[in-house]
Symmetry: C2
Subunit: 309 residues, 2 copies
């Protein structure tokens, strides 16, 4: 059973996850992964955040693009474009094999957890990568022009529409992955990775009583700020906060997790905000450009967690 | 409305079809294509004979492999193999785009005829390529060890099992493509291409009263022998005939079409059999190695048809 659970969404979360995988033994850490931005596209069942994490842990992630996998080819997409098919969501030839494999396995009645486990085995990933739920939860972004399915907002419309709120369809009926729930009593700590609080972390927290379950743990919960110097390292977090009339600050992220977290990790650039954080906090260099940065942030976060234990 | 209808299955049929497309104006010829070996695989709706024909007419066919399309890449298949997926049916990255496009369109409720028309437009094919039916007809190969779905027999098991018979599941309920039926009264002739009589032509003939419909046409029907010198140019026709205790001869092919055809085209090598053919026949060089061979056979077949009219 894992000592630590890291809750993670897209690229930022995967960076810290990789750092954690270098610092901890494989059986010490488990990852609870957002599936709110999963979707069905061109007949494929696509799980972008799971794939970002597994590709990152397997060192197959495409660093140049910031998504997808390395050594990718695009013959499928080129040909589909010529046929007039939908090409706004870019699917590489190799990436597509994974989607096909998953789609087939899900259609045959396997759970997303089981399929993800198969994929991890193939990619030689030893850590537990656990979808937040085997039930569908679909993040919808509310905008003045109506609701948008997450990938339509995120990829097709490039986060241009203003955000007025979010819905996590299916979250009320979904069951937290039993493998995550089973870990909770034995945990030494929970890390909320520097992922988007609204669309990467909240979907998991919104499943049944998960937020209360995590808040009630004996083990400490710490979040790492995805906002540094008023901006997001990647993605629309800061833009969303502005549109929601929330200051795009580390303090506001900590406030978002109020009642849930026991500690907060913020960047050197935001040291001035430390006094306003309502929980114990640690200031560190949190921008992860290199593998060493990822490992250093993982170490700092774990030491901080241990100091709260 | 087309003057000629060519009934075609796989590679051999597509070669003569290409010849016909060089000899006739695009609106003079229509192709009725076998869909008995269509199947659903890895979630994709695959129509091998339609694709062989369209790739051939668009000059995109992979001549080296004898199937699939040229300039193909295999990243999808390589990755799927690593994931432990099914790889006995080789799907190239570009080919896969076409299957995805078709699968999506069919799932959205379009007919196979309409999707094929879209694909032809994209590939700049001007002739009508008409699936034999928009209803599913599935060829099953009967063997001493039980029935085999066609592609399992043909590709996965490489035609190794002995054949005891065939079933065309769905053929009794299927409706002949109305676009094919609408052509019949205006035709000047029907050409049965040198395709496998049992698994490329019989599926179409077995749809409702299609065989009787064609036999009753005023216009002549001629078949081109797929058997030359006792062997099939490509594929398991001769092997099947032996297993079914039918001599693997041009004569036996003509006998198979007895009552349906008004003429028969056989190869120089089989000139000695000409007297045994029960209908008017023409002897020609029918092995199509070059484009010129295809054009020459198309011309000979059309002239022969006209002589019977």
């Amino acid at each position: 059973m894992a000592d630590y659970l890291a809750i993670t969404g897209g690229v930022g979360g995967a960076k810290l996850a990789l750092g954690l995988s270098h610092v901890l033994e494989p059986d010490q850490i488990a990852f609870a992964v957002n599936t709110g931005d999963d979707f069905e596209h061109l007949g494929f069942s696509i799980s972008p955040d799971i794939d970002t994490l597994t590709y990152t842990l397997a060192e197959l992630a495409n660093r140049e693009l910031g998504w997808g996998r390395q050594d990718e080819t695009w013959a499928f997409m080129e040909t589909l474009e010529r046929l007039g098919g939908e090409t706004w969501f870019r699917l590489g030839d190799r990436d597509l094999a994974l989607h096909t494999y998953r789609t087939q396995a899900l259609a045959a009645g396997r759970s997303l957890t089981a399929v993800t486990e198969d994929i991890c085995r193939t990619l030689a990933i030893s850590q537990a990568v656990l979808p937040m739920s085997d039930d569908p939860v679909r993040t919808t972004v509310l905008t003045p022009d109506g609701p948008l399915a997450f990938q339509h907002y995120f990829v097709r419309d490039r986060c241009r529409p203003a955000v007025t709120g979010f819905e996590f369809q299916g979250a009320d009926r979904a069951v937290l992955n039993p493998r995550i729930e089973a870990l909770l009593p034995g945990l030494k700590g929970v890390i909320i990775c520097p992922s988007n609080p609204f669309v990467s972390v909240d979907p998991l927290l919104s499943i049944g009583h998960t937020r209360a379950l995590l808040a009630g743990l004996d083990a400490p919960v710490v979040a790492v700020s995805p906002i540094v110097g008023g901006a997001a390292i990647k993605g629309p977090t800061a833009k969303m906060m502005k549109e929601l009339n929330i200051p795009s600050s580390a303090t506001a992220v900590a406030a978002h997790y109020e009642g849930l977290i026991d500690g907060f990790v913020l960047d050197e650039q935001d040291r001035a905000q430390q006094d306003g954080i309502g929980v114990p906090s640690v200031v560190t260099q949190s921008v992860m450009l290199t593998l060493d940065d990822r490992i250093a942030l993982a170490r700092t976060t774990l030491e901080f967690l241990q100091s709260l234990g």
